[in-house]
């Protein structure tokens, strides 16, 4: 049996690698390139002149810049929520039910053999360029004597996996995943990392002592990981509940809003104001909405519909220019949107019920988020903005997408409109914005925009960057949406005309749902693009993730000197960006496949 296997393997290898002379040559060339690349990277990372503690020691700065330590619990909650929803999603959309021990061992053996291969080919020396003479010097980094213990352990593992793979056993994948997920917790508690210590004269102690991870890091992460695992299991349990899946999808959209408006910022809420203004307004609008839904198709009220709509339009537009609390403006806009589509939808009892649910939920969320979002921050950050480092990067990425999405829809509709002036203006905006690189728009935000703002009105640079980003990615979105709009067959418009829909109803009920359906896949990739593009704000001096590694750490001299360690930080930054974008794109690809959205 073993013999046949080997024969088959050789055949597969021959077919895949050495099928022709050219293929053989290519195999050798690419292998050589890959191996030298690995050796180069390994040599770089392990060279003694690299100080990786410049990364580790500044982790807090990287993540939240100057966020006060007393309020760190808020950050942990944010991260925890992110993890819980990730766990739920992974559980809900998991497909593979069962897995067997032999299959598992095969995977592990592959990984271990890979590590063994890499350990063997790793270089023994690393090159250090002397700063004084510019001459390269060879330095020993990872001698063969050091490798032997590691190699023997790995080989032992390989044997163990081989033996275990003979046992025929299969079990649920969820169990396996939960075991995987518990590994980091164990590592957290037993691992020791080099830590910077200062002696009495504020001088750094060399070599850096190995210390266990600080409790302030260890405990929150343990809790977060546990809740992640629990969420995963819950997700697996509710796998077949469609409502649950929908709720999780919607929560993903609302989560960043909740995090940025309530948790991260710790809004200051005036109870008095709340009772006097917000709650009556909220209840009033709730009532109007419900009444509209239930009575608009009533024969007598129907006659007044056009007057009602006209009144609503006038009030809404007027409210935009009046000094009204924001909730009134938002609720009026929402009501207007609803009132337009209500007559077409609330024809049956079921339609009325679901519309009511949507109305209540959307109004509540709007009110809730507005309340948190409009309050000025309560977190006191000594000296700078509460957003900095990784949190700023995410703020730019997510809010860039959020704000640009509706703008993109409007621009796309305008460009597709039959009215020449509106079409021309929208086309002009889209093309103008797209033809110029993002960085010039960022310069516009940083130095030019202030000129256009009236006296007394001032925007934070972050807000200005968000405005510019909204326009920039909005224009790109608009082009995507336009593609979706053009794919709608003409017959649908004619059908809508035939049943007497007006333009707004046609757009909101027929055109947009279909166009947006085609857009959803690009939504995640747009967040990814925004995430990557947000790194450009370093050029205008915002303190995002990249700036911290590139400009701030390289400048630190008090109390510990990290001057000249930019390269380590750059590599770390590249790695973090890669991990996030790669995972996101992989996950989104999986979801798309599952939802069948990418295919038309």
């Amino acid at each position: 049996m073993m013999n046949i296997d080997i024969k088959k393997q050789t055949r597969v290898i021959k077919e895949n690698l050495f099928s022709s002379p050219v293929s053989t040559l290519l195999t050798f060339i690419t292998s050589y390139i890959m191996i030298s690349f690995f050796r180069g990277m390994f040599g770089f990372a392990t060279a003694p002149d690299k100080d990786w503690l410049s990364v580790l020691n500044n982790m807090q700065l990287y993540m939240v810049q100057a966020y006060p330590e007393s309020d760190f619990i808020r950050i942990w909650i944010c991260v925890g929520l992110g993890f819980i929803f990730s766990g739920l999603s992974v559980g809900l959309w998991e497909t593979e039910e069962k897995t067997s021990l032999s299959k598992l061992c095969l995977t592990f053996s592959k990984i271990v053999s890979g590590i063994i291969f890499l350990t063997i080919i790793a270089p023994t020396t690393s090159v250090v360029v002397s700063t004084a003479t510019g001459i390269r010097e060879q330095v020993d980094v990872f001698s063969y004597a050091e490798r032997i213990p590691l190699l023997s352990i790995l080989l032992g593992l390989l044997v163990v996996f081989f033996l275990i793979s003979k046992i025929n056993l299969s079990f649920n994948k969820s169990l396996l995943v939960s075991i995987y997920l518990l590994v980091p917790i164990i590592l957290l508690w037993i691992m020791k990392i080099p830590t910077i210590q200062l002696d009495a004269d504020n001088q750094r102690v060399f070599p850096d002592p190995l210390m266990p991870i600080a409790n302030s890091t260890k405990i929150p992460w343990t809790l977060i990981w546990i809740s992640f695992v629990v969420a995963y299991l819950v997700g697996v349990y509710f796998k077949n509940k469609k409502q649950f899946k929908n709720a999780v999808s919607i929560s993903w959209v609302l989560l960043p809003l909740l995090i940025f408006s309530w948790i991260f910022k710790k809004p200051l809420i005036d109870l008095n104001e709340l009772i006097r203004n917000d709650i009556p307004v909220f209840i009033g609008f709730l009532l109007i909405g419900v009444l509209t839904i239930y009575f608009i198709n009533n024969k007598i009220v129907e006659k007044f519909y056009s007057y009602y709509l006209g009144l609503l339009v006038v009030v809404t537009i007027a409210s935009l220019f009046l000094k009204v609390i924001l909730l009134v403006k938002a609720a009026l806009l929402l009501l207007l949107l609803f009132s337009v589509i209500i007559p077409a939808v609330s024809t049956s009892a079921k339609g009325k019920r679901s519309l009511t649910i949507v109305w209540v939920v959307s109004l509540t969320t709007t009110a809730f988020l507005l309340e948190g979002g409009t309050s000025t921050t309560q977190i006191v950050v000594p000296g700078s903005s509460i957003f900095g480092g990784f949190s700023l990067t995410w703020l730019l990425a997510i809010f860039g997408t959020y704000v640009s999405f509706p703008l993109g829809v409007l621009l796309a509709l305008g460009r597709n409109s039959s009215l020449p002036i509106i079409k021309g203006v929208c086309t002009g905006i889209i093309e103008l914005v797209r033809s110029v690189p993002y960085i010039t728009w960022l310069f516009f935000a940083s130095v030019t925009m202030a000129v256009f703002l009236p006296d007394g009105v001032e925007f934070n640079l972050i807000v200005r960057v968000l405005i510019v980003t909204a326009f920039f990615s909005g224009a790109y979105f608009a082009e995507n949406i336009r593609g979706g709009l053009q794919s709608i067959p003409k017959g649908q418009f004619e059908a809508a005309d035939a049943i007497g829909m007006n333009t707004v109803q046609k757009t909101s009920l027929i055109v947009l749902p279909q166009a947006l359906r085609a857009i959803v896949p690009t939504l995640v990739s747009s967040i990814i693009t925004s995430f990557k593009d947000s790194s450009l704000v370093t050029i205008i001096g915002l303190f995002d993730f990249l700036t911290i590694g590139r400009m701030v750490i390289g400048n630190q001299s008090i109390p510990i000197n990290f001057i000249g360690h930019d390269r380590e930080n750059l590599l770390f930054i590249a790695f973090v960006y890669w991990v996030f974008t790669f995972t996101l794109s992989r996950r989104s690809m999986k979801f798309e496949k599952r939802l069948g959205l990418g295919e038309r």
């Binding site: 195999t27 009215l419 256009f452 450009l536 990249l546 890669w578 974008t581 790669f582």
Partner: protein, 516 residues
């Protein structure tokens, strides 16, 4: 009375009236908003004592630039020109390189060879998921970790890399290069004509006419003649344009005003005539919709505004608001210089081969211990240029590889099977059957990637490469004129984008015609 009211009601319920009312309200609102903000801007600028002006374009900025046309610019304009040329340098070479590497990578991703395919895929996953800026900074760090140039000996080298950049052997341009380039374009055109002629013969007479061989022969012979001095024939063009230039110089400024006005009038006339002609016959005869009238009116209005800008005092007022200066037309305004430049470049008396292949050279700087790469022979690339170039090329190549892969996969499998059954080799199959069909699918998204590449060159600012954005920033740091610099960026990038997309569209259309 009632009748009148109902008539007014009917008027306002008329679709056409509503449509235009809404649009004009929209336009009015937009213009009002724009004017409001312009007003604020003017006020704010007055407060900070920086009046909007283009004067800085003529003043000496007093800073030097690392590389490019003018390293010590005499005026803001020269400085910006240097940045623009640097940007175009990366864009043009980058597009060629990215297309080349992208195609190779795309094919590699479809390869049967396991290692090749996996390597290409992992390269894709790494490059696509890391911000371009980080990659450019990374490439810079990579070059900076090379040894200093000072440790090497002076002399000629085939290829050299150090922390001062990269040097390559290169065919260096000689005096006749520009003339030769023009000559070569003409040669290409002629050999293309020969090819078509032979194909026509083949179709008409049915005998083997070897069109490819013939055109290649023409090309080689003409190239050889040109290389050893034959290119001087284009000096005729220079001679003629020298005459034109002299003739134009004596013309007064009013001539240009009239010329441009006539041109504007003519263009609007053509466009209106086209509108009318499109409905002159057939079903739609004479049925002009309100949109058609609108388009015609707008064309005429634009032409009138343009002409007014040329002559009328109100036009001068507008130009003073927009440009900060009245439009003045002088005879040294462009055209004579343009033709004069051509006549200087295409000089009959230039001799010698157009290009000379040189090795790169490491030189001593004066009598110091410092060394540098020669800028005279070979090609030396600075760190900033190299990092930016490599960054944008690899990043774009990855996206192009995806497009190539998708394009090839979109060609139906039956096509390749048919080719294989005819006994074609894999390489010929790809070259003759798959790629020509795939290109048609690939071209539009490819054009988008080219545009992205052009825009991404602006990241050179992070590694000290003086492209147009970096140079513009230095300029407004000196002069405080942010708004004009921003407008120049906008116009420049729009021009580049429009040019690129019209080139891509041209080929797109051409390929489509071939299809039918």
């Amino acid at each position: 009375m009632v009748k009148l009211l109902s008539k007014i009601g009917a008027f306002f319920r008329n679709v056409v009236v509503l449509k235009w009312a809404v649009q004009f309200i929209f336009l009015g609102g937009l213009i009002a908003i724009i004017f409001n903000y312009l007003n604020i801007a003017v006020g704010n600028l007055a407060n900070t004592n920086i009046a909007f002006s283009w004067g800085f374009l003529g003043e000496t900025p007093g800073v030097s630039i690392a590389e490019g046309l003018y390293t010590l610019p005499k005026s803001g304009l020269q400085m910006l020109q240097t940045g623009m040329l640097n940007m175009l340098r990366i864009t043009v070479t980058g597009i060629v390189a990215a297309t080349f590497f992208g195609t190779i990578l795309g094919i590699a991703r479809l390869s049967n060879n396991y290692i090749v395919e996996k390597t290409a895929t992992s390269l894709l996953e790494v490059v696509r998921n890391v911000p371009l800026l980080v990659q450019i900074l990374f490439f810079q760090a990579l070059i900076l970790s090379l040894p200093r140039l000072e440790v090497y000996d002076v002399g000629s080298v085939l290829f050299h890399a150090s922390s001062k950049g990269v040097a390559l052997s290169w065919p260096n341009r000689q005096d006749g290069a520009w003339m030769f380039m023009l000559y070569f374009l003409i040669t290409l055109y002629i050999s293309n004509r020969v090819y078509k002629q032979r194909v026509k013969l083949l179709e008409e007479q049915g005998r083997e006419t070897k069109p490819f061989l013939w055109s290649l022969l023409t090309l080689v012979i003409l190239f050889a003649i040109g290389w050893y001095g034959g290119y001087r024939i284009v000096g005729i063009i220079g001679f003629v344009s020298g005459f034109i230039s002299q003739g134009l110089e004596v013309l007064p400024g009013i001539f240009y005003q009239i010329l441009l006005s006539v041109l504007a009038g003519y263009l609007s006339f053509i466009s209106v005539r086209k509108q009318i002609n499109s409905k002159r016959s057939g079903e739609l005869q004479g049925k002009y919709s309100d949109d058609d009238y609108f388009k015609m009116i707008i064309t005429i209005v634009i032409a009138i505004v343009f002409i007014a800008l040329m002559f009328a005092p109100i036009g001068q007022g507008i130009s003073k608001f927009l440009v900060g200066d009245e439009l003045t037309f002088k005879s040294d305004w462009g055209l004579p210089q343009f033709f004069g430049g051509i006549s200087n470049a295409l000089d009959w008396s230039i001799t010698g081969v157009p290009y000379e292949l040189n090795m790169a050279e490491i030189e001593q700087v004066g009598t110091t211990k410092f060394k540098k790469y020669s800028t005279e022979v070979g090609k030396s690339l600075t760190v900033g240029y190299f990092a930016t170039w490599l960054g944008v090329v690899i990043y774009t190549a990855i996206f192009i590889s995806e497009i190539v892969r998708a394009g090839i996969m979109a060609v139906s499998k039956g096509q390749s099977e048919a080719g294989l059954s005819l006994g074609l080799r894999r390489s010929s199959l790809l070259r003759l059957i798959v790629l020509p069909q795939a290109v048609r699918i690939m071209l539009p998204p490819m054009g988008n990637q080219y545009l992205n590449l052009a825009k991404n060159t602006s990241l050179g600012i992070a590694v000290g490469f003086p492209e147009v954005v970096a140079v513009g920033q230095t300029l407004y740091n000196q002069e405080g004129q942010t708004l004009p610099v921003f407008l120049i960026w906008m116009i420049f990038f729009s021009t580049v984008s429009l040019t690129l997309s019209s080139i891509v569209n041209y080929y797109n259309r051409k390929l489509k015609i071939v299809e039918r």
